[in-house]
Symmetry: C2
Subunit: 408 residues, 2 copies
């Protein structure tokens, strides 16, 4: 080991390699069908649109596109995003409620940096988004997991934990939620529970991080209101911090996201972002602005929904066909993922190598649990693989499960 | 104040708004000539190239450009950057020595996060790059400033401080350097001093951050070797971590930078970057790769150097014409900045408002000093203003200085 590597700081030692990113290295094996990643279907990317948009931007806004921009984001992008929020979410926002981020992962880092001191309790769903756990852990978060039902986290459990934290004078800071087609479980938080969470956030002065990258990818059913909107229409706690990204509705390669929050929070985030990266790519913000301005967002998302719904249905049908009794799974109304539960006592961690031998990959469910539980669960992505791969991959996965069951 | 704002973490409270970014808000005043920013000249941006490159990328690499990429950067970009390093810097690098960043500011954040625990001493030049101070301070750095001469920092002072730090069992981690046409002073570190710094880094097992965004913008004189190269050719300490960006040689709006370091350091930075933003824009990495691959880098930098040299010469001539006796300035051989020293006892901080009244702006020198010294200094940028603005702006600045001298 070279000398200076020994000098790393506590925060660096606390940051562990992402299980997914490490898994993805295994899944390069030829012939392997991977349900492990969370990648959009590249067949759908609007390649032609990018060329046209860049031509237009260079002709009219080249000096803005290639220069440094304001830390909180370009007015040109904010203007279009505000229209999107009004039209699609019924949310009235002002520019000072928005800060543009280098996609949602930077938003999570900003939130972590804003709130977390080492040993601060952070409330999360069981399971929750792994890279959220990763970044909050790097700030020294002490996780408190709240179990979920089919309509989202158990609000009675949340209340109980908040009451206890308050009684202990703990510095609890926020509840982290992925309320729509959750990554990893595919579950959506019900409107009644959203209302209750806002009440609890007021009662306990706790921020709620509404991380919703998949919300626009709804195939069926009715969308509950965003927590941010519900709060503005009812208690006006200003405790909701909402995270958006164009990674799933447009292209992750642009790295464009947005945080929507009270202007005092946005101002603090802006100061933090100055030291993180000065500003997010102006060119990419203008490309995303064009995507909204031209209405391409609507036609593109309609196409994405159609394709992903077909893939989700194919995966549900394949699970039905190939999984033995005792295996269950969620039936998400949107998003990119579903969640499989193996019979109690069976370990998806242990089965991972068998699956790789069968040439199929998934993400172990335990990686999404802050307390290491969920050993009998796994996350399957249905957006990236083709319909044929979905059928064949689930068949292979079914084989792996059946062999384990016989061996047990 | 809203409730949840009171919950901010220590790191957030330690992060102060950037003086420059706040100053820039004042400089929007109509008619004001600003030497305050550090912006490239937008007349020079290669607008046509961007359109052509994006067309080519969408045709041949669209699926890579719009998708998530590896956290450490796209192989396509690394390949071109390795060729650039060999050709222009005589540095032999492998892909595992490189990590792509969201420009240099993210590289500084990564370095801070990798090394700094609260109260760790960090060695910096007096003056040094303000946004470096800002981000290192957010991690709780305890700065130790080393004074500079016309050929860079005083290595005897550095040795003395390192000796003292070692005797105190302090956890000193790194020396932060901007060795070429330093921001803010314009000074370049001599080859002899570079050699001595490498020796000291070996003796005291201290990392050296070589932050060199302006190195390619050399108008005259001979470039000393990069510290990274010098180390590889001599002591092989592997203690040098070098930071690159395309912000000054191509376009800041892309937010593309690179860290060159020992593979063990790069691996640690990669894990940190996973939690910061997963990856840097694939599209922008491919645009930058095209810039190097097509040779546009060389022709563009040649043009930039010619224009900035003319501006630098114009600013030097204007200073000669308009500044009263007792005012001195550096004569940089490249870069974007020069450094003005007012007579001892005069305050550039106090004069700032006078200058704004004269319709000219600069950055106060004290903002670049970790110990608040340098009150009689200021940084002038010569890349952004036109030749006419440079003449007129320096005349106004000369007026402000003369009025102060008369008043004193």
């Amino acid at each position: 080991m070279i000398d200076i590597v020994k000098n790393v700081a506590t925060a660096s030692r606390r940051t562990k390699a992402s299980v997914i990113r490490e898994l993805l290295k295994v899944t390069n094996k030829p012939g392997l069908i991977s349900f492990a990643g969370g990648l959009p279907d590249p067949e759908l990317f609007p390649y032609d649109f990018i060329v046209d948009a860049v031509k237009e931007i260079m002709a009219k806004k080249g000096r803005v596109a290639l220069q440094y921009g304001p830390t909180d984001g370009l007015p040109e992008f904010k203007e279009e995003f505000i229209k999107f929020l009004a039209k699609h979410e019924g949310v009235q926002a002002k520019p000072e409620n928005l800060i543009v981020t280098t996609a949602s992962q930077q938003a999570l880092d900003l939130v972590g940096r804003l709130f977390i001191d080492a040993a601060d309790p952070v409330l999360v769903e069981l399971p929750t988004y792994m890279a959220g756990l990763q970044v909050f852990r790097s700030y020294g978060a002490d996780f408190i997991g709240i179990k979920m039902d089919d309509d989202g986290l158990r609000t009675e459990d949340l209340e109980e934990r908040l009451k206890w934290l308050r009684s202990q004078d703990e510095h609890y800071k926020f509840l982290y939620l992925v309320p729509d087609f959750q990554n990893p479980s595919g579950v959506t938080l019900s409107e009644a529970k959203r209302r209750r969470i806002i009440e609890l956030s007021a009662e306990y002065a706790v921020a709620v991080i509404e991380d919703s990258p998949y919300r626009q990818i709804r195939f069926e059913g009715t969308a509950p209101k965003m927590l941010y909107r519900m709060d503005r229409e009812t208690l006006k706690t200003d405790n909701i911090i909402s995270l958006f990204t164009v990674s799933k509705t447009f292209a992750p390669g642009l790295r464009i996201g947005v945080i929507l929050a009270h202007e005092q929070i946005v101002r603090k985030l802006e100061i933090l972002k100055q030291s993180l990266d000065l500003c997010t790519s102006s060119l990419n913000q203008l490309i995303a602005a064009e995507f909204f301005r031209t209405g391409r967002f609507e036609t593109h998302v309609a196409k994405v929904k159609k394709v992903y719904k077909a893939k989700k249905d194919a995966m549900l049908a394949a699970l039905q066909r190939h999984m033995p009794e005792g295996v269950t799974w969620t039936k998400p109304e949107g998003g990119l993922f579903l969640w499989v539960r193996l019979p109690e006592g069976m370990s998806a961690d242990d089965m991972f190598q068998d699956a790789i031998k069968e040439n199929v990959a998934y993400v172990i469910g335990s990686a999404f649990h802050c307390d290491g539980s969920g050993k009998n669960t796994m996350r399957l992505n249905f957006s990236y693989a083709t319909l044929e791969q979905i059928e064949e991959g689930v068949r292979r996965l079914g084989n792996a499960v059946k062999k384990r069951l016989v061996a047990a």
